[in-house]
Symmetry: C2
Subunit: 202 residues, 2 copies
DNA sequence: GGCGTATATGAACAACGTTCATTTATAATC
DNA sequence: GATTATAAATGAACGTTGTTCATATACGCC
């Protein structure tokens, strides 16, 4: 007893996200706005607000998809048990992903939560997934009982790489170095491995 | 033969920056806008555009001042020649500065340049100053001819810390760890020193 | 007093996110 | 088939942005 929907809620969400992605591809993420997304998907502004709470939520979902795609790209990385091999292989996948998804990648680092607001739970889960990957690869460098040390090492390595990603995404990496992001990232991993292996022997 | 200025160009700039700082302090950096700044300094919107190219430039100057203040806070750090002491001491100043200038600090990491636009030269110089400080402190760990290695180590350490700062500024550090920023940062320095000292012995 | 000019203004514009009263289209009912 | 209830979709309108620029202002100089 009501007007039938042309598309289901889920379809609309997917259409909106696809439209947003198209806008980003064509006009850059700075030109991503509600009206552009609505026009692209052939709906009106109001429809976007029937689907999402607002633009911020739409962008959050976009970033979620990007994070998922990243994890998918990383998950297939082989784990040989030799950290120095595995980490660099993982890193190459990371870098390939960045190259292939430059604008989405940049956008991910742009979400800045209002003061004293917590990110949603799913965000933390997705980050934890990447942590888990690193954990597997660093595992061989730690004795069975050293779970805390392993966790700490994973955190620090992740944060260090995060430093590279944010500089790269904001276009300021070259302030720090003339080297390409690939080289710096691999150096970073080497520096970390040096510290960790020394720990084992020290 | 013209209307006399109430304030010189430089005075106006200073007034505008002070007004902006007041807005940030009172209403948060998200509520920083041209009209608010103009109202605070007792001038009209148009005047802001007589002084600055636009809001972005005003914010850029604010960030420049913040960077200067940071460097001033760091420059007084003692250099004893023992890296493990000096770096932690420097870090404490860093952390004190962040605590004392939380909002300005957060704002610094928000400037995201349009694609393919280079940051101004003075920005790079100011960053180089901090690099120089780190270079002095790490110097003892390197042999006289190892300038390239020293420079590389400085870059990597700086980037790693940058990873902490961006996570902290965006309110997402706790996703990575429940520990406070202080602890993580000091751990980071220790991890780096471990790798570097191992290098010397290895 | 009148003139010229640097200084300062603020109305007006375009673009934005967002709201919500209204319209539209359909399934159910008669 | 006409009526009706209701979910779906709309888009005009609002408030807030950054920015522009024709205009108003106030002063030194003649």
């Amino acid at each position: 007893m009501a007007r039938t929907a042309k598309h289901s809620k889920q379809e609309l969400r997917d259409m909106a996200l696809a439209a947003a992605r198209a806008v980003i591809a064509d006009e850059g993420w700075r030109n991503l706005n509600v009206r552009a997304v609505a026009a692209r998907m052939g709906y009106s502004v109001g429809t976007i607000y029937n689907i999402f709470e607002g633009l911020e939520e739409l962008i959050a979902w976009l970033n979620a998809e990007t994070l998922d795609a990243l994890h998918e790209a990383l998950a297939a990385a082989p784990v040989t048990g030799r950290p120095e091999v595995d980490l660099h292989a993982l890193l190459d996948r990371y870098l390939d992903f960045i190259t292939a998804n430059r604008r989405e990648w940049t956008m991910m680092f742009d979400e800045r939560l209002p003061e004293a607001e917590a990110p949603p739970a799913w965000y933390m889960e997705k980050v934890a997934q990447v942590f888990a990957l690193l954990g597997c690869m660093l595992q061989p460098l730690f004795a069975p009982g050293e779970d805390a040390e392993l966790a700490r090492a994973v955190r620090l390595l992740w944060i260090s790489l995060h430093g590279i990603w944010t500089l790269d995404a904001s276009g300021k990496l070259f302030i720090v170095s003339q080297d390409p992001v690939d080289k710096i990232a691999h150096e970073m991993v080497d520096a970390y491995l040096a510290g960790l292996t020394a720990r084992g022997r020290g």
